[in-house]
């Protein structure tokens, strides 16, 4: 059971977001531009993979399943392949640039100061531009927020990974804005 009464039965982050639509709006706008904007040299699959990896490190079941399914949808991978990437991207066949960016994301998950000059140097040597490094750090940081919102309030969600795989094409088409059901009015007084 969740720690508070969201006054709705939405799964995962959608529960508190429908409960608090004023804060949900900029959070969803942020997710939309970071993960779905076409104006980005990182592919949507690559950006979802960064979010998935950080959510995995934060042990957030809901986020790693939602975004793992999204990454799989865009990258043409099944759940097993996404699981393998989360656990061992270093020995996978993704690009050296993505390996360097995922390494930076892993440091951000521990804390901002864990990112090193050397990690940045390697990412740039493999062709990462400033905007890609910026977005990697901000995606990783944003998932440290989303993951804590989901688990800090003990939200509940379906346990079957297939549930998330089935929904991924719809979410990929419609995006994150408007992903939250019309809110029940909450009295903030």
């Amino acid at each position: 059971m969740a720690h508070i009464d969201f006054k709705n039965n939405e799964p995962g982050i959608r529960g508190p977001m429908a409960y608090s639509p004023e804060t949900a709006a900029p959070m969803n706008q942020l997710a939309e531009i970071l993960l779905r904007s076409e104006n980005n040299s990182l592919s949507k699959g690559e950006r979802e993979l960064i979010g998935t990896y950080v959510s995995y490190l934060n042990d957030c079941f809901f986020c790693q399943n939602v975004h793992g399914a999204m990454a799989g949808h865009y990258l043409g991978c099944d759940i097993g392949q996404i699981e393998d990437l989360k656990r061992n991207f270093v020995h996978s066949d993704i690009s050296d640039k993505m390996k360097a960016l995922l390494t930076i994301a892993g440091s951000v998950q521990k804390g901002g100061r864990f990112v090193t000059d050397e990690q940045i140097r390697i990412a740039k040597a493999h062709g990462a531009i400033d905007k890609e490094i910026h977005d990697t750090v901000l995606i990783a940081a944003a998932f440290c927020m989303f993951n804590r919102y989901v688990d800090g309030l003990a939200t509940t969600a379906p346990r079957d990974p297939q549930f998330y795989v089935n929904r991924a094409p719809m979410r990929a088409e419609h995006g994150y804005i408007g992903s939250v059901a019309p809110a029940v009015a909450v009295d903030h007084s």
């Binding site: 990112v115 993951n147 903030h188």
Partner: protein, 184 residues
């Protein structure tokens, strides 16, 4: 020096938002609604929670600027901010705020660290669902801001006095996106 090419001499998150205003807009909107919008927690209490989490994340820029904002909002009781950072259980703050800071401290570690006993204690001190919601989201949001600011090695002013003006601006004007300086 920052890891990416942000405007020189601009401190902390402001430099990052000037580099990427498309995302910065929503980061500032979130800070404004969360820290200045409707909430059962006072603005000073919310800034204290933000500072507490930033301090534990070792983010000098966020801790410095939000502590300065909290001191402005606290007025004659500005010292409470410093007392909270030294030992919040001994500070002259409400029992409810102490229980909420305990929850914020758990969120700073990881969401799953928040236990039913933490929630029960907060409720026994008068915390409502909205108090708990806002506390968890402030702690989660600063777990993002702190990582953003330090993960890109943005400029962190060294002296405490550098933060006084920042705090005054945040207390009086809230959170609005810094405008790009016109190129001379």
């Amino acid at each position: 020096m920052a890891y990416i090419n942000v405007p020189e001499g601009v401190p902390g998150i402001r430099s990052l938002v000037m580099f990427r205003p498309e995302t910065g807009k929503y980061l500032y909107e979130l800070a404004q609604v969360l820290l200045r919008g409707p909430s059962p927690l006072t603005e000073a209490e919310r800034e204290m929670i933000a500072t507490f989490v930033s301090h534990r994340n070792n983010c000098k820029f966020c801790a410095g600027s939000h502590a300065a904002a909290a001191r402005c909002l606290l007025g004659d009781e500005a010292k409470l901010m410093d007392d909270v950072l030294v030992n919040y259980q001994a500070a002259a703050i409400s029992e409810k705020l102490k229980a909420l800071l305990t929850i914020a401290g758990k969120v700073q570690i990881l969401g799953k660290e928040v236990r039913q006993t933490d929630i029960d204690l907060a409720r026994s001190k008068g915390a409502t669902d909205l108090d708990i919601h806002d506390t968890v989201l402030i702690a989660a949001t600063f777990s993002m801001f702190n990582r953003y600011v330090d993960g890109l090695a943005s400029l962190t002013p060294e002296k405490d006095s550098d933060y006084v003006e920042m705090g005054k601006r945040l207390a009086e004007k809230g959170y609005s996106v810094p405008q790009q300086q016109p190129i001379q």
